[in-house]
């Protein structure tokens, strides 16, 4: 009898993922010269911005900002992550279309997170990566992010118990 449950799939803990992602981020940024800027091995916001702006610059001859690392060919982290996650979900029976009724709210959150991330110079991952590389601005940015998460969590809890 082969009934497939979610627990049948390949299981990876968050710690294993963190170690692997940390190594990949450092190796990509140093050995494979995904820089400048420094500590640029992985960033979901900046790399996505690079890919989008690079494409827009080619197609519409605009002059939108692109990091030097992505000047010739853009970072394709966004596509890689989506591809890897689709493989992970499909091979373990976790892919299914699901529509929560919060499209517009999520759209606005996405735009806000991108704007604040570009202001800070990195998404949550790169702020931590910059801190690990010894960038003072990265440390204060990561501190701000932790404070933001705490504030957001307290707000969510307050709204839930009200």
């Amino acid at each position: 009898m082969t009934t497939k449950t979610i627990s049948d799939g390949i299981r990876i803990t968050a710690v294993q993922m963190g170690i692997a992602a940390g190594l990949l981020a450092v190796v990509a940024g140093t050995f494979f010269e995904v820089r400048p800027p420094e500590a640029y091995g992985i960033c979901m916001a900046c790399h996505g911005r690079d890919l989008l702006n690079w494409t827009l610059n080619i197609v519409f001859h605009t002059h939108l900002t692109v990091a030097s690392a992505s000047a010739v060919f853009p970072a394709l982290t966004t596509l890689g992550v989506i591809f890897g996650a689709v493989i992970g979900a499909k091979t373990n029976g976790e892919f299914r279309w699901y529509s929560p009724e919060s499209f517009f709210k999520e759209f606005v959150y996405g735009a806000l997170v991108m704007n604040f991330a570009l202001l800070a110079g990195g998404c949550s991952i790169r702020l931590l990566l910059r801190s690990a590389a010894g960038d003072f601005a990265g440390v204060v940015g990561f501190g701000g992010m932790v404070a933001g998460v705490i504030a957001g969590t307290i707000w969510l809890r307050w709204r839930a118990v009200r």
Partner: protein, 139 residues
Amino acid sequence: MTTAVVTLLAGAVIGYLGQRSRMCFVGGIRDFILVRDTYLLRGLIAFGLTAWVAFPLASLVLHSNIGPFAQADAVTVVLTIAGGFGVGYFSTLANGCPLRQHVLAAQGVKSSIAYLAGFFVGAVVFHVWVASLVSRVLP
């Protein structure tokens, strides 16, 4: 060219592992505050510690230092703190960091696809309006 290939491959591995582990870089702190669950928080710490150890090792092997980082002035520090706070706050409300949203979108969660649409519209909005506005308002 290396940038594109390396980030595509590294991204694919990170996307796969992120999907299997449900990793989220803001969820760890949130879960710890709400229910004292440390599963995701340990992943966050593991990432930071690994990178912290691997950076000096890499510069030892390559015989070149990381950085130097630009000396951050007061304006940059304030902007970075404000930006970081916004990332943390709105990522928490959106139910996941940017990486988690990419993974959820790839799993078929349609609100996360809407999040990604907002994410990329936001990038254009930032570079066309917000960046010039910020540089005009600040000294």
